[in-house]
Symmetry: D2
Subunit: 146 residues, 4 copies
C-alpha cells in the first residue's frame, strides 16, 4: 500500500510537529546534516505516539523498537529556520506497524522516510502481537482515514 502514498505530499499526514534547526546541525558544506534530519523524524514519531496512543495503558507502551528506517534526502534544509514533520500510519501488521513521514521547510519537502516499529518481549527479544487497543488506534491513524 505504501507505494501508493506520496510522502512528499503534505496532505497525506495525520499528525504534525515542529522542530527548530540548530547551528550545530550544520555540516562543513553549510547544509543541515542528515543526522539532524533523522532527529526531526524521531521527534515526529514521539509526537505521533503521544498524540495517538495517549489513552493507552502505559504498561502496553513498552517493548516497541524501530527496526528499520529508510530515508530519502530530497533537498537541503536551511538555518536558521524551523521544520514541520508529518507522520502517518501506512501499514499495521500482526506484531509491527509502519509509518510514513515527511520533513518540510517553508512548504517544500526536505526528506521522506518509511519506518518499521516492532512490538517485542523485552525478556526474550522475540516479537509479540500488538495489543488490540494499540492496533485499533494505529488503524485509525492510517493514510486515507482522515
Amino acid at each position: 500500500m505504501i507505494d501508493a502514498i506520496d510522502l512528499t505530499d503534505c496532505a497525506v499526514f495525520v499528525t504534525w510537529s515542529t522542530d527548530t534547526v540548530r547551528y550545530g546541525d550544520l555540516d562543513p558544506n553549510l547544509h543541515v546534516n542528515n543526522g539532524a534530519i533523522n532527529q526531526f523524524f524521531e521527534d515526529g514519531r514521539v509526537h505521533f505516539r503521544q498524540a495517538c496512543l495517549s489513552s493507552t495503558d502505559g504498561d502496553k507502551l513498552t517493548g516497541f523498537a524501530v527496526v528499520k528506517f529508510s530515508v530519502i534526502y530530497r533537498a537541503p534544509a536551511n538555518y536558521p529556520g524551523t521544520v514541520e514533520i508529518g507522520t502517518v500510519v501506512t501499514r499495521v501488521g500482526g506484531s509491527s506497524y509502519e509509518l510514513g513521514q515527511g520533513v518540510f521547510q517553508d512548504g517544500s519537502c526536505v526528506a521522506t522516510a518509511e519506518v518499521v516499529t516492532v512490538h517485542f518481549d523485552p525478556g526474550t527479544s522475540t516479537s509479540k502481537p500488538l495489543p488490540e487497543d494499540i492496533r485499533a488506534a494505529l488503524v485509525r491513524m492510517m493514510a486515507g482515514t482522515k
Copy 2:
C-alpha cells in the same frame, strides 16, 4: 560589571531566540542533557550576531572565536517543549567582548552563561582590535542600554 547583572532575570536581555527540545536531547535520567543546553546558548549567540551585526561589512565578521564559556545549570529542562534564549553584551574590551545569556522554559531559568569571544588574526592566531563599527554595535547592545 557582569557581577552586577542577574542573568536569571529575563528583563536584562536585548535579543531573544527560540529552540525546540528534541527527544535526542534526553539523557538516561530523562533530563535534557547539558550538551543540548550548550547548543541552545550557541543558537542564541548566532541569533545575536545576525540581529546586531547584520549591517556590518561581512569581511569584518570573520576571525571571531569563543574562547571561554562558563555555564551554571540551574534547573532541569523538559521534553517536549521549547526554550527561549536571551543574550546581552556585558563587556566590550579592546579585542574581545563578553556576552551574558540565559535559557528559560515556561518562564523559569534553566541555565545562565558567560561567554568571551576574541577577535583574532586567522593567519597568526593572535588577537587584534575589534573593528570600530562592530565595537559600536556591541556597545549599543550592552545591558542597561535598552
Copy 3:
C-alpha cells in the same frame, strides 16, 4: 546484487573504521540511540572515501550527496565501548553508487545499512555521470573483489 550480500557478515567489507560510543549517545532507555548509530555509518563513509578515493583529483570529489539511507537496527550497542564500521561497494551505476555498511560491537552486528550516493551538478542539481577514475576506484572496492 546487494540481496546476495550478507551485511551482518564482517567478511564482506573492504574498509574499516572505529568510533567511540559517548555518554551523550545514550537515550532514556540506556540504549545507544539510533542517531549515534547513523553517525557511525557516516564516519564509515567518510573513511571509505578518504581510503579509496584519495588519489583522485580533489575537484572531482565535489558534487556527491547521499540521497537514500536504509538502516536495519539489529541489536543494542553498549556504553562505554567502541564500534567498528565496515563499508563495501555493492553497486556502481551511471551517475550513482551504492554502499553496504555494518556496525559491529564486540564482534556482533549492531546494524546494517544500504546507502545510495549520487553525483550531481551543483549548478543545476541534476545528476551527471561518475568520473571514470572514480568509477574505476569504486569498482575495485566492490564486494567479492578483495
Copy 4:
C-alpha cells in the same frame, strides 16, 4: 587551590579516557565544534566516576549533578582523529567537589575545564553532605596525590 594547577599540563591528571572525533562534529568552519568538545569532557567525567567510585555502593551514586561548567577553548581539534581526556579532583567540599579536565589531541591541549558537581537530595533538590566513602575516594584522586 585550583589556580595553582596548570590544566594544560597532562602530568596533573589521574584518569584518562579516549574519544573519536566524528564527521558530524565538524562545523561550517571545518572545526570540531565546541559542543563535541563539551561531550569529550562529559565522557571523561563518566570514566572518572566509573574508575574511581566503582567500589562504592550504587545507591550512594545517585543525586549528583553538574551545576557549573567553565571551559577555555585553546586550539582547534582536527578530524579524523582521536582525543585524550584527562581528569583530576581539584577540590572536595562539604556537599560538592570540583574536577579539572583537559582535552588533548596529538599531545597538544585543545581545551581545559573546571566542573563543580553537587550532591543533592532528589526529593527536596537541596544539597546534602557527600557520603564519607565517596569523599574519601575523591580525596585520593586529588591533584598532587598520585
